[in-house]
């Protein structure tokens, strides 16, 4: 591990200032893509990929350590996270030979992927999706609509989930299909959010034709293919837990340095956040240690997701409270936009209600409604 991190530090010490010099203060998409290419060149974004795919074959603990070091250097997060973390592992496991060629292109941003999962009629209820893909000769003909597609505005390709057998029960009859974004009949529209940003898109399909060869994995098995991908996402919550813990430490340090002390009630509230985030961090580290020991994580990821989303939302509310008048005038713009953005924490990637259903049904074995 030490050698690895030393190599990383050497890499960053050389490459990060060079990148900064090239792009200055630019916060543009091109600058971020260039950083991803730089990191991919050092096999750092793909460190957990198997070596045959250009990765380093590392485990989650090492990846976490790598992310920590990167954060210390103040380098930006790579923009193509969904492709690198979710799509590429799916293609490695389920993709055909042609599809697997995308893996390397995902790493260096020659391809930029999004995932077409959520639909207007199936927000938290992923299994009831209605976008259809009908086989017509050698093609799928796709009609329907996706919503909340992260990075939809920038993507070159989509990993689409569409219904290929309408008679099968909800979780069955769904297939995963590669759809190039420039396919005729496909239209992408940005979704403006309450914080003014547009990180998501709606995607409309009108008689979109792609070859049947674009199927990922077996026909009608898209649910399993997807769950594999989501499984990767779930392990990531442990990383989120650690980041939230650190964020609260930083917040408390900032508050403690203020000239005028905050109210004892707010101060106690910060201590409450601290306690919960410390415990969340302990849970996250224990989950990562389990993964590192080769034990498949059980219910921890759902619990961490539930606690994380509610706590992180409360922290942003507290930051807004601490800002007081400066929050509503925008003089403390970070507090204001953080508060608005945090409204999605208990909604995105499964609402808190759904996560509680999952824990109740699958973990505790309570009767389904």
């Amino acid at each position: 591990m030490e050698a690895l991190l030393a190599e990383l530090r050497e890499f960053l010490t050389k490459e990060f200032p060079a990148w900064r010099a090239k792009w200055q203060d630019s916060d543009t998409w091109e600058a971020k893509l260039d950083w991803q290419r730089t990191m991919a060149g050092g096999r750092w974004t793909t460190a957990t990929w198997p070596e045959e795919f250009g990765g380093r074959g590392l485990g989650t603990m090492e990846m976490l350590a790598i992310e920590d070091v990167v954060a210390q250097y103040g380098a930006p997060q790579i923009p193509g996270m969904i492709g690198v973390k979710n799509v590429a592992p799916t293609l490695m496991r389920f993709g055909n030979e042609e599809q697997r060629k995308s893996v390397a292109r995902i790493a260096n941003t020659d391809e930029f992927w999004c995932q077409g999962f959520s639909e207007p009629g199936a927000g938290s209820d992923l299994a009831s999706l209605r976008t259809r893909a009908v086989i017509d000769g050698d093609d799928f003909v796709i009609n329907g609509q996706k919503v909340w597609t992260s990075n939809g505005m920038y993507a070159t390709h989509m990993q689409l989930l569409a219904r290929t057998d309408i008679d099968a029960p909800k979780h069955k009859g769904i297939s995963a299909i590669v759809v190039p974004i420039n396919t005729p009949g496909l239209e992408v529209r940005p979704i403006k959010q309450i914080n003014g940003g547009a990180e998501f898109a709606e995607v409309f399909f009108t008689d979109v034709r792609v070859p049947v060869a674009n199927l990922i994995g077996p026909l009608n098995e898209g649910w399993n293919v997807t769950m594999t991908t989501l499984g990767h996402e779930r392990a990531g919550v442990a990383v989120f837990a650690g980041r939230l813990e650190q964020r609260i430490r930083n917040l408390i340090e900032d508050v403690s340095k203020k000239d005028t002390p905050v109210s004892p009630v707010l101060s106690d509230g910060l201590a409450e956040h601290y306690v919960e985030s410390r415990v969340l961090g302990m849970m996250g580290r224990q989950m990562l240690a389990k993964i590192a020991d080769g034990v498949a994580p059980g219910s921890e990821s759902s619990v961490i997701k539930m606690v994380w989303s509610e706590l992180s939302q409360r922290v942003d509310t507290t930051v807004m409270e601490l800002a007081g008048v400066d929050g509503i005038t925008g003089d403390d713009n970070a507090a204001k936009s953080g508060y608005l953005t945090a409204r999605s924490a208990t909604i995105a990637a499964g609402t808190s209600d759904i996560v509680k259903n999952i824990i109740g049904d699958r973990v505790l074995g309570l009767p389904r409604d």
Binding site: G121, G123, D125, K192, I194, V325, T329, L340, R343, S352
Partner: protein, 366 residues
């Protein structure tokens, strides 16, 4: 301003006429247009409210062209205007400026200023919150000058004149300045609330007219009326949000049922209802308090604001949660309300601040 004398039935009629009017002139589409234009004023709606419906002059005695009503009637107007998130300076001009002038108890200022406010032909605002350091005044042979800055001044960009609460050599005074006066700079802020722009107003020796004499006790009363007024707004917005959430819960289907059939959603809606009914009881009670009973006014205003400032944000946040992703979009109305709710939460002290003052009243703290 007077004690309210209308009956509940009369106020219900008044509410119905306001709601009719606002649903015609200030639908959400109109609100979005005005917001996009960044003027910060929906002129047609303001003219209708002020002149035709007499809302701007509700709190002004009839001798000055007003309606001679009290807070109970104004609470109805504030609830309805906030329910429609109307882009009008009702709080700033019709409530705060109107009350501040009357509290200053200056006969000639009343006669000079109230008629213009009553018919809505003049828009004023009150600069209350110091924007770093204390706002001070100096007096010489030419009269008073104001120095300092005020933050979060509501609708400052459309006010013709601004009332400023500032310290004097002997205490606190209320001062009137022209918005275009030399030395006065209005800097629009990146306000959370899109329907009611705020500004930083700086004063570098701005010529001012003093209204009345010592204002410190009046300031307490002004803050109390301000608390009741924003609480009425919070009630109006919470009620609307609850209705939007309940309607969505009845129609949106997931997992084969309308989501309102799921207890997590149903109970959240029931709790919203309980909070809205509680706010209604609190605002109704506080708005009927005798305006000359300074102790009762202070206590009730703190109670109602402490309640509404705590639970209206809860209702607004719960509305987004009930809607899921769609509630998080710019196109959905929820965030327009959330922004104004969070702003009202802070104005005149958030729940924690109000509770701290209650602790002092109750002898729980020194």
């Amino acid at each position: 301003m007077n004690t309210s004398t209308t009956t509940a039935a009369e106020r219900a009629d008044f509410r119905a006429s306001l709601r009719d009017f606002l649903s015609d002139t200030s639908p959400e589409s109109r609100v979005r247009e005005v917001i996009a234009s960044e003027s910060g004023l929906d002129e047609a709606t303001w003219r209708g409210l002020a002149s035709d419906l007499g809302v701007a002059g509700l709190l002004i005695p009839e001798e000055f062209g007003g309606q001679g009503m009290g807070m109970a009637e104004m609470a109805v107007a504030l609830e309805e205007a906030a329910r429609a998130i109307a882009v009008v300076p009702l709080l700033a001009s019709g409530v705060l400026a109107t009350i501040a002038i009357q509290l200053a108890d200056d006969a000639s200022a009343n006669a000079d200023l109230l008629p213009g406010l009553a018919n809505g032909s003049e828009i004023m605002t009150v600069a209350l919150l110091d924007g770093g350091g204390v706002t001070t005044t100096a007096r010489d042979e030419n009269g008073w000058s104001v120095y300092g800055s005020k933050t979060a001044v509501l609708n400052a960009n459309i006010a013709q004149r601004i009332l400023v609460v500032a310290s004097t050599p002997t205490g606190t005074g209320l001062f009137l300045v022209d918005a275009k006066a030399s030395g006065l700079v209005i800097t629009p802020q990146n306000s959370l609330d899109l329907t009611r722009p705020t500004a930083l107003v700086t004063f570098e020796g701005v010529a001012a007219t003093r209204i009345g004499s010592e204002f410190s006790e009046s300031l307490n009363a002004l803050n109390a009326f301000g608390r009741i007024a924003v609480s009425a707004e919070l009630l109006g917005m919470s009620e609307k949000l609850m209705e939007v959430a309940v309607e969505y819960a009845k129609t949106r289907v997931q997992f084969g049922k309308p989501i309102g059939a799921f207890q997590a959603i149903k109970h959240r809606c029931s709790e919203m209802f309980a909070h809205v009914e509680s706010m209604r009881a609190a605002v109704g009670s506080a708005a009927l308090v005798d305006p000359t009973d300074s102790v009762g006014l202070h206590e009730q205003a703190l109670v109602v604001k402490a309640y509404c400032a705590r639970f209206a944000p809860w209702v607004a946040e719960a509305t987004i949660q009930v809607h899921g992703g769609i509630g998080f979009t710019w196109e959905h109305c929820a965030h327009l309300y959330l922004r104004r709710v969070k702003t009202d939460e802070i104005l005149f002290g958030d729940a924690l601040t109000c509770r701290y003052q209650l602790q002092q009243l109750l002898g729980l703290t020194a």
